[in-house]
Symmetry: C2
Subunit: 427 residues, 2 copies
Amino acid sequence: MKSVEKLGTEAEGWLRELGQFGADAIRGGVTRLLYTEEWVNAQLWIAEEMKQEGLEVRTDEVGNVYGRLSGTTPELRAIVTGSHVDTVVCGGIYDGSYGIVAAIIALRELKQRYGQPRRTIEAVSLSEEEGSRFPLTCWGSGSITGKYLVEDAVHIRSESEGLTLSDAMRDAVGKLIAGAGISLEPALRHDVEAFIELHIEQGGVLEEEGVALGIVDRIVGQKRATITVLGESNHAGTTPMHMRRDALHASVAMIAALNELASEAGAPLTFTVGSLQVEPNLSNVIPGKVVFTIDMRHPSDEKLQVYYDRAAAITEREAGRFGVDARIELWMNEPSAGMNAGLRLLLEQSCIRSDASWKLMPSGAGHDAQLFAAHCKTAMLFVPSRGGISHSPFEYTPPAYLGTGIHGLIDLLYELAYTDVYEDEWG
Amino acid sequence: MKSVEKLGTEAEGWLRELGQFGADAIRGGVTRLLYTEEWVNAQLWIAEEMKQEGLEVRTDEVGNVYGRLSGTTPELRAIVTGSHVDTVVCGGIYDGSYGIVAAIIALRELKQRYGQPRRTIEAVSLSEEEGSRFPLTCWGSGSITGKYLVEDAVHIRSESEGLTLSDAMRDAVGKLIAGAGISLEPALRHDVEAFIELHIEQGGVLEEEGVALGIVDRIVGQKRATITVLGESNHAGTTPMHMRRDALHASVAMIAALNELASEAGAPLTFTVGSLQVEPNLSNVIPGKVVFTIDMRHPSDEKLQVYYDRAAAITEREAGRFGVDARIELWMNEPSAGMNAGLRLLLEQSCIRSDASWKLMPSGAGHDAQLFAAHCKTAMLFVPSRGGISHSPFEYTPPAYLGTGIHGLIDLLYELAYTDVYEDEWG
């Protein structure tokens, strides 16, 4: 087996190659939206790499591309590892792609060193996670795990482009099959024993603490809501302060109180007001309307609900205090997703064996693993992100960390697919 | 002389007629921007009304239209009364226009009742005050009083339309001279003894207190600044709260502290954050940049400076507390303008004589009177605005109040132009 350093350097080379599909010469970074030409070419490149490494390649109805290393015992359910191939607009070369590249390299290393596994192992390049082109996220993993039905695609439309997900998909998957000369299978699967996702952290915790690997215990629950505050627009000079119903004044008081709530709650709650719009937004006019979002995340769904209820109460209270109306609309309410405890322990043991520094941590971002967690045993492993930067051309993880991540992945896949440690202890 | 009620009803009729020039059938209200076709037609209509009332009509280089009632003693400087003819986009029919209509009606009433005055009296329809088309305000009054030079117009350009103020002016004033068959004079004047502006309040004080007339003692000083707060944009889920440099979180704390300052200072300070922009303004991204404006007004320039300095210090302090950078750019710094004490007393005496309810009050908005105040004796008189609404199709003042205002104007003009009360006591 290659050394950790060599694995990392190799992975970096692959990521740079894969990063050419959708590279944006003007703005920097990679723009590889679902079912675009760049996306098709990236999947074709991945299919070719999988073939080169001796894996059996196939795709499915939604364009997920699999590279399979068949097991000796076909009746055992498969171990699947990978991540998503799509990017945000002007994203980095690591997000998603790292998990795919790592999966292919891991399967090659396992095959070279240990030959055929007991269980089938599959590397997967999932078609979509980011939600950057169509108004949904995790289309790839959602179609495998039954959250979405392929037929739903006719109802999903890109507002900016007008076309349906269904039409874009038919075109792209057609090109994929023709280009790679591969077979097509249904997206929904019931033969997955475990899913493992290796991903960059997209946060700064591992880097700050100088830790090589993050073993995810839980993907946080998320609630996102929009708060609309209605006051009364008026002249900034001629309206005495006591006669105002200033929507921004009230909103600032609300947000200050909500920030206070978050501060009192402390970690692991995160609270963000990321978007705020003022009307009419003129320096000399008292704002009549403010619309802002709140984003609250916590690993415990119960605690998240408690904090959300408090936030709603604070909003109501401040609205009353300022004589404005406030309407709260909750539009995202994702429960948290626990990672499999057995897989987590195997990862911890692997870190101990290989002397890699690691920490248990929640994932503050959503991932494909979140959808698999409701469907099969799921594990997620993070490597550090420089400065916590993601969704940016400046995304970067040093090769040594890339290698440590791949090493951990290989170790876990070995335990699951070549030994019966897991089945004996937690299966 | 007509009764107050009849004067008000007549004024309302005129305002409705004048409000047809630039009436916006789709969005409602009046859009009569400087030197547009609607503006030219409005000034031609006013010139025609002035002629009908037997006034000598002329215009000047910047398109201010005058209707003169010559005095018996030409060496005495003139009394000028009026307001601006331009409107904001979708404005009301009262703002500015009321002062013009009132001036013409007042001159007619004086002439009918008392004949030729000692001093020349002039009604004026000022070309511009709102700053809605070109990036300057009070072009009409500023050109009369020497704040602006007519030659400056070549350097002033409408960003949205590309053309210069100079080109727009040449075209419009040419049409005005041709259409009305009137003479052109220089804009700058040194022969104005007093300027009197009758205007709707554009605030809700008079209505709230049930008072018919506001006698302005001072137009407030104004400072407007833009505050740019730079933090660091980052992922809302994966960035722990203690690692954030959230520009909106910091801005909210700043604005809350600034609101607190304003609240402690109390009336007559007004403080408004009217405009606020967030970048990148996405619900799941920590804001990296916030730009907001502050608008501070106070009748005392010294106190305004003290509060502004405190506001700047609070901004710096909060920036430091949140580890963000804050830059303050002061881009409007208008000193307050005191109205003439003698004229104010004449107005008070007039109210007492006619049993009209009145109150002394500052003007929180800027007006043409502000520019005249640095140039000659100046008085300003307010009538109530329903709900304090202005710059809106819903602007409204009941006819009875319009009449009371005109009556007050007539009374003051009589004292100034027909008697020597003012000269004897304060001249």
